[in-house]
C-alpha cells in the first residue's frame, strides 16, 4: 500500500517535472511545476518531514507560484507564451542533461545509504530547537536577507527610479 | 501618530454603531407583504377607488357607440357594433382590448356615455378594474376578447341576416328609399 502511494506520487512528480521541461506554453510549464512542487511535499511526508512539507506548500504554492503566475500574466498577457530557445537548441541541452544525470546516478551508486524503515516522527519542536540553537547564525542571516530583499524589491519597482528609455523601435514601445 | 490612532478608533466605533443599527433591524418586523397568498385581505380591496387596473367592458351595458374606440389614442380597442334582432339599437359583434398596448390614460372612460350604479358602485360601460394580474404565458394572452370568438361569429351572422332582411324590407316598401345607416364598419 505504502509503496503504491509512493509510486503514484513519484509518477506525479516526474510528470510535473517533465511538463515543466518540455511544454511549449509557459503557463503549462508553470502548472507542471506546481504539480511537481505539491508532489514533492508528498514525498517529504514519506520521509517523515511534515513541517518541511507544509512549509513547502505554504511558501511555494502560496508564495512563489502565485508570484510566478503573476509575472506570467503581467508580462505575456496570454499571448507570446510559446518560448523555446532556438539558439541553445535541444541537442546540446540534452547532452548536458545526460551528463548531469549520469553523474547523479554515479553519486547514488556510491552514496552508501541503506534501506531503512523509519517510523513517522513529529519534527516541529526539534526543527525549532535546531533553528534557534545550532543554526541561529544562518537563521538571523536569512532574516537580514529577507529585510534587504523586501526593501530592494520595493525600491526597484518605484516609479521614479525606473529609467524610462526609448524601446528599440517597436510598435508597442510607447512607455 | 494621533491621526493613525484616531483612524483606528473611528473605524472600530463606526463599525460598532453600524452593527448596532443593523441588529436593531433584526429585531423589527419585516414590512414586506407576502403576495399573493399570505395577505390579510386581497390587494384589490386595499386599492383606492380611482385605481386604474386592467380595462374592463360591461358587454350588457355597452351600446356599441364606438366613442371609446375613437377616443383611444393608440388603438387599444377593437370593436364593432351592428344591428341585430337581439335588442333595440346596436349590438356588439366583438370587443377586443389589447392590454399590452394600453397606457391607462382614462380617455375611453371619459368618452363613454353609458353609466350605471349609484354613488358607491358607479361605473361606465368601459371602466378600469382594480385588477392588475394580467400576465400570461403568450403574447396573445394580452388580447382580451370580451365576446368569445364563437359568439362573435354567431352575432356576425345574425347581423348579416338582419341587414339582408332590412334591405329586402326597404326594397319592398319603396324602391328609392333612403339608405339605412348601418353599424360602424
Amino acid at each position: 500500500m505504502k509503496d503504491g502511494i509512493f509510486l503514484c506520487i513519484a509518477a506525479v512528480t516526474v510528470f510535473g517535472a517533465l511538463v515543466t521541461a518540455f511544454s511549449r506554453s509557459i503557463i503549462n510549464a508553470a502548472l507542471g511545476l506546481l504539480l511537481a512542487l505539491v508532489a514533492i511535499a508528498g514525498l517529504y511526508i514519506f520521509l517523515s518531514a511534515d513541517f518541511v512539507a507544509v512549509s513547502q506548500i505554504l511558501i511555494y504554492v502560496g508564495g512563489v507560484m502565485v508570484l510566478l503566475l503573476f509575472g506570467i500574466m503581467l508580462t505575456s498577457g496570454g499571448d507570446n507564451i510559446f518560448s523555446n530557445n532556438p539558439i541553445m537548441g535541444a541537442v546540446p541541452a540534452t547532452l548536458i542533461t545526460t551528463i548531469f544525470g549520469l553523474l547523479g546516478i554515479y553519486v547514488v551508486n556510491t552514496s552508501g545509504l541503506t534501506f531503512y524503515q523509519g517510523a513517522y516522527r513529529a519534527t516541529t519542536r526539534d526543527i525549532g530547537h535546531f533553528l534557534l540553537r545550532e543554526y541561529i547564525l544562518p537563521f538571523e542571516l536569512v532574516s537580514v536577507l529577507i529585510v534587504v530583499l523586501i526593501v530592494g524589491a520595493g525600491v526597484m519597482l518605484r516609479k521614479e527610479l525606473v529609467i524610462v528609455r526609448q524601446a528599440p523601435q517597436k510598435k508597442e514601445g510607447k512607455k | 501618530m494621533t491621526t493613525y490612532l484616531k483612524n483606528i478608533w473611528e473605524a472600530s466605533a463606526t463599525v460598532f454603531e453600524g452593527m448596532a443599527i443593523t441588529f436593531s433591524y433584526l429585531l423589527q418586523r419585516p414590512i414586506t407583504v407576502q403576495y399573493p397568498d399570505r395577505l390579510k385581505e386581497p390587494v384589490p380591496k386595499t386599492l383606492p377607488k380611482n385605481y386604474r387596473g386592467r380595462l374592463m367592458v360591461d358587454t350588457e351595458l355597452c351600446t356599441a357607440c364606438a366613442l371609446c374606440q375613437k377616443a383611444c389614442p393608440i388603438d387599444v380597442i377593437e370593436m364593432k357594433g351592428a344591428r341585430t334582432e337581439r335588442k333595440k339599437g346596436l349590438t356588439l359583434i366583438y370587443f377586443n382590448i389589447y392590454h399590452g398596448k394600453c397606457m391607462y390614460c382614462n380617455l375611453c372612460v371619459e368618452a363613454c356615455p353609458a353609466e350605471e350604479g349609484d354613488e358607491e358602485a358607479h361605473h361606465t360601460a368601459i371602466y378600469f378594474k382594480k385588477d392588475f394580474e394580467g400576465s400570461g404565458y403568450e403574447l396573445k394572452d394580452l388580447v382580451e376578447q370580451f365576446i368569445p370568438r364563437e359568439e362573435a361569429i354567431q352575432r356576425l351572422k345574425e347581423a348579416e341576416e338582419t341587414a339582408a332582411k332590412r334591405a329586402a324590407k326597404a326594397a319592398a316598401e319603396s324602391a328609392p328609399a333612403e339608405p339605412k345607416k348601418e353599424g360602424n364598419a
Partner: protein
Amino acid sequence: MTQFIYMFIFAVIYLLSIAVAAGFLTVVERRIAGRMQSRIGPNRVGPQGIVQWIADAVKALQKEDIIPTDAHSFLFKIAPYLVFMGVFLTLVPIPFGAYTLMENLDTGIFYVLAMASFVVIGVMMGGWASNNKWSLLGGMRSAAQMISYEVPAALAVFVVVVMAGTLNFQKIVFSQGASPVDWYVFRNPFAFIAFNIFFIAALAEGNRVPFDIPEAESELVSGYNTEYSGMRFLFFFLAEWGNLVVIGALVSTLFFGGWNFWFEYTLEFSVPGRYPIRFEVLGFLWFLFKVSIFVFIIIWIRWTLPRLRIDQLMDICWKYMVPIGLFASIGILLWMYFVPEKSLADTIMRYSMTSFGGLTILYFFYRVFQNLRVTKAKIYANPFV
C-alpha cells in the same frame, strides 16, 4: 488497507457535511439578510425555506456547463475544484471534539495556513483561464489580496502559537480552559488585538464583504467566476460558504477555547476511553454554537458595511494590520517573559479583560435598544415570519 478505507469513509462524511453546511448557510444568510433589510427572504421551499438550497442546487445542476471560446479549457475546468479543495483541506486538523477530528496533525495551524494557498491558485487560474478581462482582473485582485492578508493572519496566529507553545490544535484547546477567563482572547491585550487582526484577515482571505473586491458585482460583474455556470459555479459557492465554517471554527478554536465544555477538563482525559462520551457530545454542540455565532457575525458584517476600494484595502493591510500585528507579536513575547502564568498581574488582567468584553457586549445591546427606541419600532424577535 482497512485504515485507508476508514480514512476514505471519514473524508466522504466530512465532504458531505461541509457541503450540507455550506448549502444550509446560504439559506441562513439570505434569511438574515432579509431581516436586516426589513424583508423576509426565501421561505417557500420547505418549512421556512429550509431546503431552498436543494432547489438552488438542482436548478444549477440542470444548467448547461458553458466553457467560453478561447478559454484554456483544462484550467477552466479544474479551477473550481482547486478552490474547493483548498477550503476542504483546511478542515482536516480542526477539532470538533476530543475525538471528532480527522487527523491530529502536529503542524496544525501551519497546515491550515498552507492549504489556504490552494484557494489563491485556484482563483487565479479560474480568472486567467476564463479569457475575460473582468475575470482576469478579479483573479489578480484576489491573489494580491489573499497573499497580502496572509501576513497579518500569520502574525496573529503567531501570537496564539507563542502563548500555547505548540502548533497542534488539540494542544491549543487543552491549554485554554472552558471558562471565558481562560480563553486566549481575554488573556491579555495583545491576544485581543491578535484576535481582531485574525478575524479581519480571515474575512479578507475568504473574500467576504467588506473585502469582496475580487467579486465586486457592481464593478467586475462578479469577478473571477463571471464565466462559470452550473455545477462549477456551485463549487465556488460551496467553497465560499464552507470557508465561513472554517473561519468560525478557526477563530473559536484559537481564541475562544474550542470545544472545551467541561469545566474540570484536564489532559488526562485525552487518553482514549477516559473521556466520557456525553462530554464529547456536549463539547461538539458547544463548539458548533461558537462557530455559528461567528458565522452569524460574519454574515452580519456583510450586511452592515459597504465594500472597500482596492487602495483602501491595501492600506488597511499594509499600513494598519501588519504594523499592529508586529506590535502585538512583539508585545506578547514581552508579556510572556515578564508576566508568568497564574501570577497576580496575569489573573487581574484576565478578569479585567473578560469583564471588559462583557461590558462591551452589554453596551452594544444598550445601543441596539436605543436605536429601536429612536425609530419607535416594536420589538418582534420571532425569527420566523
